[in-house]
Structures are given as structure tokens and as C-alpha cells.
């Protein structure tokens, strides 16, 4: 594999829980991200999936240093972002951009498209002021927006178009890595397909690395080269997108895959579903041993005692003590 552009080494992000009215003592911590190691190659699309509360968005925010890491290192292009000075961090942010789920909330309603796209160019002094209008027009063209729309405001656009503006804004600084946090979940099927095509095409053309966070596995499978499945702050399975989603090994991935409804009435009525009981446990007091064992159909006594590690298994990495037996 090529030199990784982004590397995470045992990253942990814990949020302290304060108890008491005046005492303000941190007694516990929400272990939102609890020991994640990953590498992302140049031009690679990595899908990140898991239920709400599994820590996938916190992981994204940790990579961007929007929340501080508790321990571990986020290394972008050879630079440890956790130890970087404010000035170095600002420089690194040019290489690292984010697209959010809700394009209604992530664009400033008082900036028109031109102002929204020109802002990052000015802040980072990407080009001389005279070239800004040309660059904005270029960006709009890149994401399929007619440049005549430049003076319009976000409320005048549909959800899909707004997401295009958000993508153009992320691309303005020619980043090396884009983190897209559920970029298509708020969109209709036909619009979703347009945005997915755009992201796939941009990542190919510009040799962009993409971390694509979603809960819709069929979308993730379509766009990603590799997939990481998260549960309770940890990666439980990591491997090639098609292998992991078509032949999942970890019991949690199996349950997740079997929960996706298929657009085929006959298959839908006959297939075996694994319906997980209950909700994921609290990340404040994660279960001992394997975090998934209380909901796992294959759990045995040692799963409650021993913490599984992410280990190579059948061409992927799986963190399950019984991976070889089930």
C-alpha cells in the first residue's frame, strides 16, 4: 500500500462526566472513542459504519482536532496534530476538510454562495484577491452548480444543491483528506445518487482520500474501498468493503448487515434476520471483556472476561475471540 496520508494510533477520546452541583469532579468518562488505530492511503475511500452513539462522529471530530484527543496520536502527512501548535494546526486544516450531514445547518444563512466559497480562500490566502472570483466559479463548476447562482443564498437551494455547496466549500482549499459525516442521509434517493457520484468522481479526479461516515451499509459498500465497523468506540471489523459487507465475520457486522432491508420482496420475506435485542450499552460503563458480548448470539463465558484485539483473519481484521469458530 502507498504511504498513508492519515494515520491514527490508538486514539482515545473520552468526555469527563461531572457529578455534583458544586463539586465539579470528573468521576466517570464517556468513552466515545476508545482505542482506534487506522491508516488511510492517498486516494482511498474508507467507509465508517456503526449505530448512533458508537463514536463515529466523535472520531471524525477527533481527527479534525475539533475535540482534543485523550490519548494516542492523529498523524496527518507525518505531522502529529495533537502536538501541533495553533499555527501548524491551521496549516494542517487546509489538508483536512469536513462535510456535514445537514446542509441546512452547516451553511451560514447570511452568506451567499460566492461569499461562502470565497471565505476559506481568503482566510488561507490560497490565491491573490483578484483571482478569487475565478476560483469560485471554477469550484461551482466542479460540483455541478451553474456560476450564475453565485449570488443566491442557501435558503434558495434544495437539499442536494446545498450539499453541493458544502462540498465545494470543502474542496476550496484543495485538501488531501475529506471527512464526510453522513453526507447523503438527509437527501432523497434520486438526489443521494447524484451526490454519491459526485464524491466518487472527485475523489478519483483529485486523488482525494475520503472518510465516508454513514449508517446505510449499501451506500458505504458502493463508494468505499475499505470499511471499518465501529461498536462502542472500538473498531470491531476492518477490511475490503465488498468482503466485509457480503461476508461479514464479526457477529455485530453480521447483525448489522442482516438488518438492511433489501429492495427485493421475495428475498425480503424468506431471508433469515438477526434481530439484535435492546440498545447498545452505555459508553460510560462499557461491559467487561468484549463490548458486544451482552447482545451477541455466540457469546460464551470467556467473552465477558477477555478483551478481544483487532487481529488479521481471512483477509481482514476482526476483533472477536471466537472468529475462527463461528
Amino acid at each position: 500500500m502507498a504511504e498513508p496520508i492519515l494515520e491514527l494510533r490508538d486514539v482515545k477520546t473520552h468526555f469527563p462526566v461531572y457529578r455534583g452541583f458544586f463539586r465539579r469532579q470528573a468521576q466517570d468518562a464517556v468513552r466515545a472513542v476508545d482505542g482506534v488505530s487506522l491508516t488511510l492511503a492517498r486516494g482511498e475511500v474508507l467507509g465508517l459504519v456503526g449505530e448512533s452513539g458508537c463514536g463515529k462522529s466523535t472520531l471524525a471530530r477527533t481527527i479534525l482536532q475539533l475535540v482534543p484527543t485523550t490519548s494516542g496520536a492523529v498523524i496527518l502527512n507525518g505531522r502529529n496534530l495533537g502536538a501541533a501548535s495553533a499555527r501548524e494546526l491551521l496549516a494542517s486544516r487546509r489538508d483536512l476538510q469536513m462535510i456535514f450531514q445537514d446542509p441546512y445547518a452547516s451553511l451560514n444563512p447570511r452568506l451567499n454562495v460566492f461569499a461562502a466559497l470565497a471565505e476559506p480562500l481568503r482566510v488561507h490566502r490560497v490565491c491573490p484577491p483578484g483571482e478569487v472570483p475565478g476560483r469560485v466559479a471554477e469550484l461551482m463548476h466542479l460540483v455541478g452548480l451553474a456560476p450564475r447562482l453565485a449570488r443566491k443564498y442557501p435558503h434558495e437551494f434544495s437539499g442536494g444543491q446545498r450539499q453541493r455547496i458544502a462540498i465545494a466549500r470543502a474542496l476550496a482549499l484543495q485538501p488531501k483528506v475529506i471527512i464526510a459525516d453522513e453526507p447523503v442521509s438527509a437527501l432523497d434517493v434520486s438526489i443521494q445518487a447524484q451526490i454519491l457520484n459526485l464524491l466518487a468522481q472527485l475523489s478519483r479526479q483529485m486523488h482525494l482520500s475520503l472518510i465516508f461516515i454513514a449508517h446505510d451499509l449499501s451506500v458505504v459498500k458502493h463508494i468505499s474501498d475499505r470499511v471499518a465497523v465501529m461498536y462502542l468506540g472500538k473498531i470491531v471489523e476492518l477490511g475490503g468493503a465488498a468482503e466485509v459487507i457480503e461476508r461479514p465475520v464479526h457477529p455485530y457486522t453480521r447483525a448489522l448487515v442482516s438488518a438492511i432491508p433489501q429492495p427485493d420482496p421475495d428475498a425480503e420475506r424468506t431471508r433469515q434476520r438477526i434481530v439484535l435485542a435492546g440498545d447498545p450499552p452505555s459508553p460510560i460503563h462499557p461491559p467487561a471483556g468484549c463490548p458486544f458480548h451482552p447482545r451477541c448470539a455466540y457469546a460464551e463465558a470467556r467473552c465477558a472476561a477477555e478483551v478481544p484485539r483487532l487481529e488479521a483473519f481471512r483477509g481482514r481484521e476482526v476483533s472477536c475471540l471466537r472468529a475462527g469458530e463461528i
Partner: protein
């Protein structure tokens, strides 16, 4: 006689920027025990259709311009309010997409759960509470007696949706309208809720109208599906036919744009353009501007839903003429 028969329903919203024809001539029926899926993108009128039947359209700005909705012989749109109230909430219930905003945050779960019973049935509070606890157990909430004392914010999204379902079903309705009940939930929780709706439907022999934008969800739960576009039904068929042999160009395009059925890494099929602005009267077929098969006649001739095989109707003029 069908349980619910909606005929030529038109719901318009009169606003400063024009008349929005959210629902524009929709007719359909639901039989007892049947599950009907209504599929469409945002703004297609699928929710407004059901809100109209439930009497939830704010008037003004909304106006039911025409149509009738016969529920077991009672026209819900034109009968006296008291007669409609006797049906709505008792024989006809609805659950919504976002269980957080549709539960009252100030009431304990147990208290809001039994509200429909106290209103619609001659029942003592103690009896109602007992039925409430039974219902909570039926929807899979363990330790119901203790959980009934909780407030909505103490529940997770999936649990809140279970409470909503318990509340809707406590009067044993004959028809349940489910408006995107699983859209806000995780796939694993979605699977639980779909399973629950299926089981309770069998037990109560209840009809369900299932509104969703997700064709995959429809395929597992519905008997019959109708596809809506710009306030009109463009195709209706039993679920197998609709997936195996969709005829209307919009249904076909919608199906082709699902990532799950397209080869990995390939360019996804997309429908060009945007849904039409329903504030302007659209002559002819509303899908024509985005349709790859459109001919000039499509933008002039009024579309009608016509049967092309028993139980399979669609509104494309060119399909009806046998041209595509």
C-alpha cells in the same frame, strides 16, 4: 367494501407565493388487514395525503379542495367533527417519524399512553393503566410498570418509537398510518420496529398504510405499493409486480438509483433535474421534464391512472399507448 376509500383527494396550501398543490387528485383504497405502501420523495405529497385523512392539515393555509375519504362508510372529510373524532384516534391511528417531537415531554409515558383509552372508551383509570402496561409489554418494553413512570427523554429513539406504537395501538385500531416510522432510527433498531409492526398487525388483523421514501423497507412489509410524484399517484401494483416489472418511467428511475442493486463502484444512475414546483399548475405529466421517454404530447395531455394488468395501474401515457 374497502376499509378506507379515498377518492379524488386534492389538498392545496394557499400561501403568499401561490397555491401549492401538495395533493392533486389522489384516489386509492385499503382493504382490511392489508398493508399499503406509499413511496415518494420529499414533497411528493405522501404525508399530506395521510394528514388529510387524519384531519391534521392546518386550515388555513391548507384547504381540502375536493375529494372524500370513506372510512367504513363515514366520510372523514365531510362528516360532523364529532363523528370524525370518534373514528380518529380509535379506529384509525397514526405514528410519526420523529418520536421525540410527537410525545409530550411533560407527561409520564404511562399517562400519555392511556390518554386515547380514557377519551374513547368507558373505562376506569385503573383498568386503563392495566391495559397500558399490557401494551408496553406487547411492544417489547421490559419492566413496564417502572418504565411507565419515566418521561420520554429517558428513552432511546427506538424505545420512544415503541411507546408511540403502543399508544397508537392501545385502542386496537383497524387502520394504522405509519409515516416514515423508522427513518430516524438505526438499521438494527429499524429491523426491530418493522418486526414489531408486522407481528402486531397479524395479532390485531389491522390494516397499515406505510409511508416511506425507502423502497427497500417497502419490499419487506407491504402487500401493495403506490408511488407518488408531485401530488399524484403515478403507479400502483402489488409489491412483487412493482419490483419485478415496474412500468412507469419514474418508478423505474427510482429503482435504478438505489445503490444496493447497482454494481459496486459503477456510476450510479441518477434522475436528471429536480422535482417540479407544485405551486404552478403543471399541464400534462409532472415527470415529463425529467423523463427520458418524454415526447411533446406528455406535457399537454392530462395524465390518468389506468389499469394495464389486473391490480397494476400506472399513469404514463406512452406506456398506456404501448409505446414503451
Amino acid at each position: 367494501m374497502p376499509l378506507l376509500a379515498v377518492t379524488d383527494l386534492r389538498t392545496h396550501f394557499h400561501t403568499r407565493s401561490g397555491i401549492y398543490r401538495a395533493v392533486d387528485g389522489v384516489s386509492f383504497s385499503v382493504e382490511r388487514g392489508e398493508t399499503l405502501g406509499i413511496v415518494g420523495e420529499s414533497g411528493s405529497g405522501k404525508s399530506v395525503t395521510c394528514y388529510s385523512v387524519m384531519g391534521l392539515v392546518p386550515q388555513p393555509p391548507g384547504r381540502i379542495a375536493s375529494g372524500s375519504a370513506l372510512f367504513d362508510g363515514v366520510d372523514l372529510l365531510h362528516c360532523p367533527p364529532a363523528a370524525a373524532r370518534a373514528v380518529r384516534g380509535k379506529r384509525l391511528a397514526m405514528i410519526f417519524q420523529d418520536p421525540m417531537t410527537s410525545l409530550n415531554p411533560f407527561l409520564r409515558i404511562g399517562d400519555q399512553l392511556i390518554e386515547p383509552l380514557l377519551i374513547h372508551e368507558k373505562i376506569s383509570k385503573a383498568q386503563a393503566r392495566r391495559r397500558g402496561l399490557e401494551m408496553l409489554e406487547a411492544v417489547g418494553i421490559n419492566d413496564a410498570a417502572r418504565r411507565a413512570q419515566s418521561y420520554p427523554h429517558e428513552f432511546s429513539g427506538g424505545m420512544r418509537q415503541r411507546v408511540m406504537i403502543a399508544m397508537a395501538l392501545i385502542t386496537r385500531p383497524e387502520l394504522l398510518i405509519a409515516d416514515e416510522p423508522t427513518t430516524a432510527l438505526d438499521v438494527t433498531v429499524q429491523a426491530q420496529i418493522l418486526e414489531l409492526i408486522r407481528r402486531l398487525q397479524r395479532e390485531l388483523n389491522m390494516a397499515v398504510i406505510f409511508i416511506t421514501h425507502d423502497l427497500a423497507v417497502v419490499s419487506g412489509i407491504c402487500d401493495r405499493v403506490q408511488v407518488m410524484y408531485a401530488g399524484r399517484i403515478v403507479e400502483t401494483a402489488d409489491v412483487r409486480t412493482l419490483f419485478a416489472r415496474p412500468r412507469h418511467p419514474y418508478t423505474r428511475a427510482l429503482q435504478r438509483s438505489i445503490p444496493a442493486i447497482q454494481p459496486k463502484g459503477s456510476e450510479l444512475y441518477t434522475i436528471p433535474g429536480l422535482p417540479p414546483d407544485v405551486s404552478k399548475a403543471v399541464p400534462g405529466c409532472p415527470f415529463a421534464p425529467r423523463c427520458e421517454f418524454a415526447v411533446p404530447a406528455c406535457e399537454q395531455k392530462e395524465i390518468v391512472l389506468a389499469e394495464i394488468a389486473p391490480g397494476h395501474a400506472q399513469a404514463c401515457l406512452r406506456v398506456q399507448a404501448g409505446e414503451i
